[in-house]
């Protein structure tokens, strides 16, 4: 077996056979799910509960002011600003008499400060109550208004894009979702595995085996062996997650009752409408499942997955080389902080750009960011979800890919030069300026 192959094999096996590898692979998705669930849970539980006493000089709010889950309005007699706290109210709302539609201020007094969210809820409720009152005075009831509102929602916008001779349905929300998820996934992967490459490269220095290794293999071979080996670990972990997700979704499907599945099939066959006219209504569950499947189906999956794979690899190789260069000149993790910063900053920046671009995928910022190899792995995916060649013309995609390939070839070459000098140096604190010199001086 040739030398790089041996090194790749060793790097891969030593990480994959570790118990922590298996644990993290299984626990990570769990942790992410728990994290999301936790934030949702907290945002619900975290709302403050207010009991507000209202003193209303207009005398119509009692009928119209609606309570919410957390904020309740009461209209007691004999409560004023002096005694509301003793009587058990968190706040008192004083509404003066309105003069026509002249601008009026109403006041809420409380002991504890009221959060922004609650303030907005109260304002909303007051405005709704005023609106209701005015409606009633012109003879329209709230329930009439609501009914009109619901019934008018029969028109739905379907957006089609020109694709040569045919038009295809495009779904902005889906594009946003896919783009954002791909972007964030690549971002996380590049950071995690980049740091792994950094630590992996430092291993030879800290265990002092660098000189022995370099007397058997070329430094470049050692560096590439580590980069590819660690990349393979990342790939394995990623594939395991994909398998996990597939297994989970199939498991979830097993819980869906058979009738619903039949209905979903019917909907699919008849393009969203139940056969036999409006008589047979599909169950809401079936409709939902159909909708999800239908919207997912509009995306160009082969293209998206293919590009994801390409940018995943390209982005990894591009940044892994830079991390390897840093790792070869430091001996402990503390010193590495200042050197790693110029490498992690572009990644974080690219993520921020992506979160903007995913809303507006066709601006100059979006175009530039998806071409430059520093940010293209994260940003381009966000744009591709909107459609090729619609949002992303072919030439942009090809140019971006070529630039990325050129990019990682360049960073690998540069890292190779830095690595071969740095790996044998001990004790000196190296700066990026010196590393730059090693890369570009003599051969």
């Amino acid at each position: 077996m040739n030398k790089i192959g041996l090194i790749i094999r060793r790097e891969y096996l030593s990480r994959v056979r570790n118990r922590t590898f298996v644990l993290t692979t299984i626990l990570m998705p769990l942790l992410i799910v728990l994290f999301i669930a936790g934030t949702i849970f907290l945002s619900i539980k975290g709302k403050e509960k207010l009991k507000i006493a209202v003193v209303d000089d207009n005398h119509f709010f009692e009928r119209n002011l609606k309570n919410s889950n957390d904020i309740s309005f009461e209209f007691p007699a004999g409560v004023d600003t002096a005694n509301y706290l003793q009587k058990g109210y968190s706040a008192i709302l004083l509404i003066p008499k309105f003069e026509g539609t002249q601008k009026t201020n109403y006041v809420i007094r409380s002991k504890k400060s009221i959060g922004l969210g609650s303030k907005e809820t109260i304002e909303g409720k007051i405005n709704a109550a005023i609106e209701d009152n005015m409606l009633q005075q012109s003879g329209i009831s709230r329930s009439q208004l609501d009914s009109i509102h619901t019934r008018s929602q029969f028109a739905e916008l379907k957006s089609l894009q020109e694709h040569g001779n045919k038009t295809e349905e495009s779904n902005q929300a889906l594009a946003y979702g896919i783009g954002y998820s791909c972007g964030i996934l690549i971002y996380i992967i590049m950071l995690i595995y980049g740091m792994m490459v950094l630590r992996g490269v430092m291993e030879e220095k800290t265990s002092r085996i660098a000189e022995v290794m370099v007397s058997s293999v070329k430094p470049f071979e050692l560096m590439m062996g580590k980069i590819v080996g660690i990349g393979a670990v990342g790939l394995t972990q990623f594939l395991m997650w994909v398998v996990l997700i597939i297994v989970l979704t199939s498991a979830v499907q097993a819980f869906i009752p058979h009738d619903t599945l039949v209905q979903v099939q019917a909907l699919q066959q008849h393009n969203g409408n139940m056969p036999g006219g409006g008589m047979v209504q599909a169950s809401e569950q079936a409709q939902q499942i159909y909708n999800i499947q239908h919207t997912l189906g509009t995306a160009n999956w082969p293209l998206i997955l293919g590009c994801f794979a390409f940018y995943f690899l390209g982005g990894y190789l591009f940044y892994a080389a830079l991390f390897a260069a840093v790792g070869s000149v430091v001996e402990d993790v503390q010193n590495s902080q200042s050197l790693t910063l110029p490498v992690t900053m572009p990644i974080i920046f690219a993520f921020l750009i992506m979160s903007v671009v995913v809303y507006t995928p066709d601006t100059p910022l979006a175009i530039w960011a998806s071409l430059i190899p520093f940010s293209s792995p994260i940003v381009m995916l966000a744009r591709i979800a909107y459609g090729v060649p619609g949002t992303v013309p072919y030439w942009q995609l090809i140019l971006s890919m070529l630039l990325l390939v050129g990019g990682f070839l360049f960073t690998t070459w540069m890292a190779g030069k830095i690595y071969r000098t740095g790996i044998l140096l001990y004790g000196k604190k190296i700066s990026w300026k010196e590393m730059w010199k090693w890369a570009f001086r003599r051969s």
């Binding site: 077996m1 800290t206 002092r208 022995v212 007397s215 058997s216 293999v217």
Partner: protein
């Protein structure tokens, strides 16, 4: 028959001339001492021989042909002064991995590693990690890894550091065995007494230049001061004589320097004539330690200052 030939080697760094025109050649099957003070350029020289650094000038001939790092490194075993192996890798596996990187097939590597482990009584440690080993064990392991692939040229930089007398002896005997079986050994150390014990030939470098190159016995002879030691059974009336200078006297033991024009026989005559019984009479050759100090102190600075390239 030369294993290694080095001609006019130069390696300059931004701050100093690490190796400044060094040439020498090594015969197959002999043990060479590469000596020099700290900062002399030994490590840089070794790194050029092992292909880690490329010389700025000069050439290296390995086994008669131009040195080709890519292919020749499989015939070289190098044990650097900065000792180290992967801490968390099991040592049996690690030895096999490193042997494979030197060109052995997995099977060959396994066999050889097992053989050496048994020889050094390390077989029970196969599955231990490097970090579990004692220092002495670690050194032995590193030695095994260096010689496992039967290299033609073995370079050992301070191989005995940290070893107890028993393990030192073990390694020393191995070195003799390897040389006997045709390997050429370069041995770099500051322990001159070891050099005298082990090496056939020494090269002394300082400030990037070679200042001595020859067989151990020959060099000692070159530096001899005509000092002799005489052990008498009893002191005669006249201890000093015309043929020699008396340097030291401890009881019945004398150290004398024979004057020019006279020989050892003249000295013996002087004592025999006085009926003094002679128990022992031998030449005192200078130790390599003394030669080293004299040569190095003689050539300007002992430790190198930074010199800009002119």
């Amino acid at each position: 028959m030369n294993m290694l030939e080095v001609k006019g080697l130069k390696k300059y760094f931004a701050t100093q001339k690490a190796v400044d025109d060094i040439s020498f050649s090594l015969d197959k099957g002999s043990i060479f001492g590469l000596l020099g003070p700290n900062g002399a350029g030994k490590t840089t020289l070794i790194r050029m021989i092992t292909g880690i650094f490329y010389p700025d000038e000069g050439e290296i001939l390995f086994d008669g042909k131009k040195f080709d790092p890519a292919n020749d490194t499989v015939h070289i075993g190098y044990m650097p002064e900065e000792r180290g192996l992967y801490k968390k890798m099991k040592i049996g596996e690690q030895a096999v991995y490193l042997a494979q990187l030197k060109g052995l097939s997995k099977q060959e590597a396994m066999e050889k590693v097992k053989k050496w482990f048994v020889k050094f009584e390390m077989q029970s440690w196969w599955n231990k990690k490097m970090e579990d080993l004692s220092k002495g064990m670690g050194q032995k392991l590193q030695f095994v890894i260096t010689v496992l692939h039967q290299p033609k040229l073995i370079i050992l930089d301070e191989p005995f550091s940290g070893l107890d007398p028993v393990n030192s002896n073990l390694i020393k005997n191995e070195i003799f065995d390897l040389a006997k079986n045709g390997a050429t050994v370069i041995f770099s150390t500051h322990r001159m007494e070891q050099v005298e014990e082990i090496c056939d030939h020494i090269i002394l470098v300082n400030l990037g230049k070679k200042i001595l190159d020859g067989g151990v016995t020959q060099i000692k002879k070159d530096f001899k001061e005509n000092k002799f030691s005489i052990q008498l059974s009893s002191l005669p009336a006249q201890v000093s004589g015309s043929s020699f200078d008396l340097i030291e006297q401890q009881g019945n033991k004398l150290v004398v320097r024979i004057r020019d024009g006279y020989s050892g026989n003249d000295v013996l005559q002087h004592f025999i004539q006085q009926q003094a019984g002679i128990e022992a009479f031998h030449e005192i050759l200078p130790s390599l330690n003394e030669i080293f100090i004299r040569e190095v102190e003689g050539t300007r600075a002992r430790t190198r200052a930074f010199q800009p390239i002119t």
